[in-house]
Amino acid sequence: MEQLLGFALYMVAVTSVFCILAMSLDLQAGGCGLMNFGQVAFMLLGAYTTAIGVNADINPYACMVLSMIVAAIFGVLMSLTVKNMSGTYWGILSLSAAELIRLIFLNERWLADGANGLSVLVTLPYLHLTIFVSMLLVYLLMRTIWRSPFGRVIRMIREGDRLPLALGKNVLLFKAETMAIGGAVGGLAGSFYALLNSYISPDDGLPIETFIVWAMIVVGGRGNVFGVIIGTVFVQFLFVGTRFLTNIISINPDILSALRLGLIGVLIMAVMMWRPQGLLPERKRIYRI
């Protein structure tokens, strides 16, 4: 019973981590229209910053803040590459950039022990609760951003650069700010990821992780913060729940793990084909006169 409760707690925490990551991506993609296919880089940077920091005897809470700063800086660097690039091209660029980050962590053994990964040997009191509460705080932050003038401007940018430019908005600055916030939130998710699993390796930063997060926001509904949480919970339960199918039907675990990933792919396709706005579509606010 205690084991089951522990697992349930862990699941809540992991799902919360992915909720944070998905909300970060939703701010960029659903909010500002930045097709970030390198979202996992934020997580990887955040997780490695925390891991390296903890191993260097820095206070874990300070490490969380450091992770956010590092990932936010990377976000701003990424935003410098946007310029007036179309969504498709920037998508390919961000995918490449994230892979570069992963390759560096994989090959620079002096930095983070290469493929072996780093252990994060620290136990924080109430870590699961901290993560859950942080997720709620990020949710509130996103809601606030969404309703703020800033949120209105980035949604306008999403629909094309011309109108905001005509209104005198500094589009690049807004994109940089979006990427900074998205990066900081993604870095926090990465930091939690490392602390929760007590381990981080370059394999946690494969592009497929980005696409799983994409599945979460696509299923839930891009541009609807609550929908994104629903989508994350849905995908996470589907993905984790199917892992235990081996106990029910006799199936080779290798085949099952491949099929589980395939399910994510089919899910992305099916949602985009039949319900492109997601389970909970973005709500358009109408200002009645």
């Binding site: 498709t88 390919i92 390759l103 994409w214």
Partner: protein, 304 residues
């Protein structure tokens, strides 16, 4: 490693990449979205070839032919049942759909064939020494096939009616329709041809090295890099792009950077600084980032 060997290796990498890249470039230009599933279609074609060649025990040439033709048909099915539904919704929705399809194909292949490496069954003939460089028998076959296929593709595009219709559709869909070109048919043909070329490229790579479900994973970015360098929709461009990527990958590893970093003797550096082999993919990733930074809308400055 001697220079001729590096050049030959680069040419072979370029030939393999080029076959996949020209198909992608064509579909990119006409369908106007980045088809991430294109590269996985190449791997799927390679596995179909394996099915015919090893499981059914057919001749290698025959298996390649059937696999390529069949994959062309599969490409048409992708269009008919998947991408046609999301046509006209901008470039983002089909791109995300293609991502989903890519994941589904890769996982499906892994579920069916397992993660082990596979090799084709063919009569092994001795390789040749050319100017002091070694070239294996499959590599000779790949070079010949690739050159023939690319010339054929170019001729088709330049001289045939359907090729003309394809170029018209890629330039302007509405105008092409106004000239009574059946653009739907053209798009279907592009799917057929593009996917068939991808399958041919995948087959060649698997023949040269080995076949595993992660083959496509390492190809996505180099292929897109080749297409973007050459300019979307340009066949010659895609081939030049593939040559640049192929040479950059092989030369990037073979070059000793010590003189460059040491400013030719001004600074004391170790005698041999070359890029570690593990960074081979990084060369193309970096190339993509730099390329898109210098030309934000792509080399051809074409709005997508």
């Amino acid at each position: 490693m001697n220079l001729i060997q590096v050049i030959i290796n680069s040419l072979i990498t370029s030939a393999e990449l080029g076959l996949i890249a020209i198909g992608l470039s064509m579909t990119f230009a006409i369908l106007r979205f980045a088809n991430f599933a294109h590269v996985e279609a190449a791997v799927m074609g390679a596995y179909l070839g394996f099915l015919f060649n090893v499981v059914f025990g057919w001749n290698l040439f025959l298996s390649a032919l059937f696999a390529v033709a069949l994959m062309g048909g599969v490409g048409c099915l992708f269009h008919r049942y998947i991408f046609k539904r999301v046509a006209g919704t901008g470039d983002v929705t089909p791109m995300i759909v293609s991502l989903g399809l890519a994941i589904a194909i890769r996982s499906g292949l892994q579920a069916i064939w397992g993660p082990q490496h596979k090799i084709y069954d063919y009569e092994i003939l001795p390789g040749k020494m050319v100017f002091g460089a070694f070239i294996t028998f499959p590599q000779i076959g790949i070079l010949i096939t690739a050159v023939a296929a690319m010339l054929g593709f170019y001729a088709l595009l330049q001289f045939s009616r359907i090729g003309k219709a394809m170029r018209a559709t890629s330039a302007n869909v509405e105008l092409a329709q106004a000239c009574s070109i059946d653009t739907e048919k053209v798009i279907l043909f592009v799917w057929f041809l593009g996917t068939a070329f991808a399958a041919l490229g995948g087959f060649m790579i698997a023949w040269d090295t080995q076949l595993d479900p992660y083959l496509g994973f390492n190809l996505v970015i180099p292929i897109f890099c080749a297409v973007l360098i050459g300019g979307v929709g340009s066949i010659q461009g895609a081939i030049i792009g593939a040559l640049i990527v192929g040479f950059a990958q092989n030369f990037g590893l073979a070059v000793n950077f010590a003189p460059l970093i040491g400013l030719f003797g001004l600074i004391d550096v170790p005698a041999d600084i070359s890029l570690p082999g593990a960074y081979k993919p990084a060369i193309t990733y970096l190339a993509v980032v730099l390329l898109l930074l210098i030309r934000p809308t792509g080399i051809t400055r074409k709005e997508l």
